[in-house]
Symmetry: C2
DNA sequence: TATTGTTATACTCTATAACTATA
DNA sequence: TATAGTTATAGAGTATAACAATA
């Protein structure tokens, strides 16, 4: 037995606290989005990206949202059915699909965002000082960029039977 | 229009970085757990709690894992079917179900944990200094405790039509 | 050939409500 | 009455693989 599990207790505790806190936050945020906009978090993310860019290809939209292509097609289909986005061919690349946010989509984001922010403020930022906020932003930005750069490392070294 | 959305840009950026980083981490961790132990993250969490306590009631097991009761019953059923836990009545309270981890369950946790920790170390802790680690642990512990204490605040203030 | 996106399909997970049994 | 847990069921989401079309 190696000491591969010799992660410091502090590290393990930090990891679990991080995961649990975000899990709780995500749960709260999803309730708010569902109640005020009938949106899942993923759908909100997609709309938020589109509210910023107005128009993106499926591939561009997939960046920053982890999914499989088919998952994105599914979600885009839902958003289109709800009248929040439209889909059409791209003039530049005939293979691409351009997703465009509608007025209704923009309106919905505007309607949902304040409550969303309120939840985040109450749950995440309330117990933090300005310095905490700065530290957390700095740390998580670094971690995120590091993860984005990491080679996907397809799964695991080996796969014990069963 | 109120200034309800006047969350500082720094706050919004921190929030998004946090959510995205954790999303990426969770994705990576789930792949590892699936590949090396055929477990979901939830199942791993349940087994990890049980590896620590050996025996818990369903209600105790539900603490720290957000779910609905039925969701927990479902997961416990899967773990039992896989031979990783057993379920039986409690001597203290005839209503309660005692969930006990088996030797196989303990072995599986032992087999999966090193790889799990390796992924967390590589993705989360690699780009962090000791001071970052300390800050992050301190911050997220405080946030988590704050969220746990928060009144569930059932959903949202009001629900715009549509 | 590689890339973009969709479809078909199967599966996992989660939540709600109704129900049983014990406290 | 309240609490612990299960069941039935329905719905949302995700992934894989096969496919079509364009670059």
């Amino acid at each position: 037995m190696s000491d591969a599990d010799a992660l410091h207790p502090a590290q393990l505790g930090t990891y679990f606290a991080l995961m649990e806190a975000v899990s709780l936050l995500q749960h709260a945020v999803e309730q708010q989005l569902r109640a005020e906009g009938d949106l899942s978090y993923v759908q909100f993310q997609l709309l938020a990206h589109l509210a910023d860019a107005r128009q993106l290809t499926m591939t561009e939209l997939a960046d920053g949202v982890v999914y499989s292509r088919s998952g994105l097609t599914y979600q885009a289909g839902l958003l289109e059915k709800a009248g929040l986005v439209t889909r059409g061919p791209s003039p530049d690349d005939e293979r691409a699909t351009l997703v465009t946010i509608t007025e209704g989509g923009l309106a919905l984001v505007g309607r949902v965002l304040p409550g969303h922010i309120e939840v985040v403020r109450r749950l995440l930022f309330n117990p933090l000082t300005d310095e905490d906020l700065h530290d957390l932003g700095d740390i998580m930005t670094r971690v995120r960029d590091h993860m984005r750069a990491e080679p996907p490392r397809s799964a695991a070294p080996r796969k014990p039977r069963k």
